[in-house]
């Protein structure tokens, strides 16, 4: 797990967590996650449109450029981003686990080469570039985005599975299991698979955070997740800003699972009421649903 150790390190060796810090960390993870996943349930009926960029009148975070309640947009925007990120991470491991386990446990060198070398080659392609390439031909939508993000995560995940599994597979216990005539499945899944759960869990946490960034960035650029889809027609169509708002409002689960500062989130929420740079009034093509049309407004 080279090059990743620094982000989550703690002082001292496996120091026993004080319960206060643990509670803070748990709250930082759970509150945004619950808001993202169950937000649409709390949102209720859309209220009438208000004046753009104003506070008050029951709008906790103010209104956006077409007078919609920003808090409502935040509640709606989180779920697609989180669901796509979770699906992409799961998909990546569904492919990476078998590939990594097989190449770590096989005694045939050519099989390992065939499985791992193509992934080494893929490792060089920048992740956002791959998504943009596909988006230039057709709009991938949420399932397509999940597939793409999973695809760019497979090479790295498979390498880590293989590295962790190869470490376990060279231990005497595995040799003993082999000599006992245990089946490949029992050795690979029952012993090696269970032994690498701990490093894999650590990797999955880091990977999920990275995937969340990637999905949110893609959404910011107008690809994949169309957030803030209130009510088609009545509430305005999908538009790229909801993603920014929801991501800003969410404050990033990355902050949460690394027990970061509490003030950060509230600071981010406070800034989430305006989109800076847009004082254009009329002629602004916000919310027309066209990708990248927002840049013309600045």
């Amino acid at each position: 797990v080279r090059g990743r150790g620094g982000t989550g390190e703690r002082r001292g060796e496996r120091s026993w967590l004080p319960s206060g810090r643990f509670a803070l960390g748990a709250a930082l993870v759970c509150v945004p996650l619950v808001l993202a996943l169950f937000g649409p349930l709390f949102a209720g009926e859309p209220g009438p449109r208000a004046t753009s960029f104003t506070l008050g009148g029951g709008h906790w975070l103010g209104t956006d450029f077409v007078g919609r309640d920003v808090w409502r947009q935040v509640l709606f925007g989180g779920r697609p981003v989180v669901v796509v990120a979770l699906a992409a991470t799961t998909l990546a491991y569904l492919v990476a686990l078998p590939v990594g386990l097989i190449s770590a446990l096989t005694h045939r060198a050519w099989l390992e080469e065939v499985l791992m070398r193509p992934l080494d080659v893929l490792l060089a392609v920048p992740s956002l570039l791959m998504i943009l390439l596909v988006a230039s031909v057709f709009s991938p939508g949420a399932p397509g985005l999940a597939l793409l993000v999973a695809l760019v995560n497979i090479p790295d995940a498979a390498r880590i599975v293989r590295a962790a599994a190869a470490d376990v597979a060279s231990r005497p216990a595995v040799e003993a299991l082999r000599m006992q005539g245990e089946s490949w499945w029992r050795i690979a899944v029952g012993h090696v698979g269970r032994s690498i759960l701990r490093p894999l869990a650590a990797d999955a946490g880091v990977r999920l955070t990275g995937v969340l960034y990637l999905v949110a960035t893609a959404a910011f650029l107008g690809i994949g997740v169309a957030p803030g889809r209130g009510r088609l027609g009545g509430d305005g169509g999908p538009q790229p800003y909801g993603a920014v708002r929801s991501a800003v409002g969410r404050g990033g689960p990355g902050a949460a699972d690394r027990d970061a500062d509490d003030g950060l989130q509230s600071a981010l929420r406070r800034t989430a009421r305006h989109w800076p740079g847009c004082h254009c009034g009329t002629g602004c093509r916000y919310g027309t649903g066209r990708r990248s049309s927002w840049r013309r407004c600045a």
């Binding site: 982000t7 392609v125 031909v137 650029l221």
Partner: protein, 317 residues
């Protein structure tokens, strides 16, 4: 255990394979997808004349492998084809937009290493004290914020509330060096996350190194503290950080695209996003190849440097 020469040779070979893979992948993802590419590309305006025009411009009637061969043979001579929307050669798009992107990325990398290493050494020197806690919690917090959200935050505070810096680079064209104030926020946003990860790695490495027997021995000899820190402990603390630097290349490329979109800087990222929005496939392909090859080359260089720092750890090959 192979020597440095054979390792470098294998790494170069992998780099070559990666370049070929990037070219094939770029082509496959944009042109060889199932279905009629011309219909897909026409997108919002699916009238038959436009579909026919796209089909002719891209030579879609010929088999895919012939088009790939034609296109790939043009790449070494910087012949990327012509834009679908404007008819201008793609290479002119790239040469026009290269300057601002290079300036942004160059400035970021030039500042990244001193700032990241400096913060890491500072935190490690005062481990457990106020300075360390401040640096550690700020880097942790900033690390968790995606570039676009951090950019929005900085623009709100420094451009709109305090009015110290321009909010975007609109109106300055490609002459960004003449307006350094417009560069401050974009470079800050680009620096934010890599600096945090780098300084945390350097801090962890420095704390280990400073607690090691050889540093204690150097202190007993009466060697000045600064020399112990920078000449003896730091090189050993740099090994994991050097590998992390290799990984920031991908990050930096994503960051450049986002930051250019956010601050409206007319660089390669903006050209790419516009081409994606207009479904201008030749431009997207050309830029993707440029971005991909730059990534491969930078990764190769970073791996070679990281290998020099930490010959024991095998990097990527």
């Amino acid at each position: 255990v192979s020597g440095l020469g054979s390792w470098a040779a294998r790494r170069l070979l992998l780099g070559g394979a990666q370049t070929v893979a990037v070219v094939v992948l770029v082509f496959a993802l944009t042109e060889a997808l199932p279905g009629d590419a011309a219909v897909a590309l026409a997108g919002d305006q699916p009238d038959p004349a436009r579909i026919a025009a796209i089909r002719e411009a891209l030579d879609l009637d010929r088999p895919a492998y012939e088009r790939l061969a034609d296109w790939a043979t043009g790449l070494p001579h910087a012949d990327f084809g012509d834009s679908l929307t404007s008819g201008r050669p793609v290479s002119s798009y790239i040469s026009d937009a290269f300057g601002p992107t290079l300036l942004l990325a160059g400035l970021t990398v030039a500042l990244l290493v001193p700032v990241g290493v400096g913060l890491g050494v500072l935190a490690a020197r005062y481990e457990g004290r106020f300075v360390d806690r401040l640096v550690s919690s700020v880097t942790l917090g900033v690390y968790a914020v995606p570039e676009f959200a951090f950019g929005v935050l900085l623009v709100t505070v420094f451009a709109l509330r305090l009015d110290w810096l321009p909010p975007t680079a609109v109106g300055y064209g490609t002459d960004l060096l003449g307006h350094p104030a417009a560069l401050v926020l974009p470079v800050l946003v680009l620096l934010s996350r890599p600096v945090c990860s780098l300084s945390r790695l350097v801090r962890a490495g420095m704390i280990d190194a400073l607690a090691s027997p050889y540093v204690a021995q150097a202190r007993r000899y009466g060697i000045p503290g600064a020399r112990v820190r920078y000449a003896h402990a730091l090189p050993n603390a740099m090994a994991p950080a050097a590998q992390q630097l290799a990984r920031t290349v991908d990050w930096l490329l994503c960051g450049v695209i986002v930051v250019e979109a956010l601050f409206v800087i007319p660089g390669l990222g903006t050209v790419l996003m516009n081409a994606v929005a207009e479904r201008d496939v030749p431009v997207v392909q050309g830029l993707a190849v440029v971005f991909g090859v730059i990534t491969v080359v930078l990764n190769l260089g970073a791996d070679l440097v990281a290998h020099r720092f930490a010959p024991r750890a095998e990097v990527a090959a």
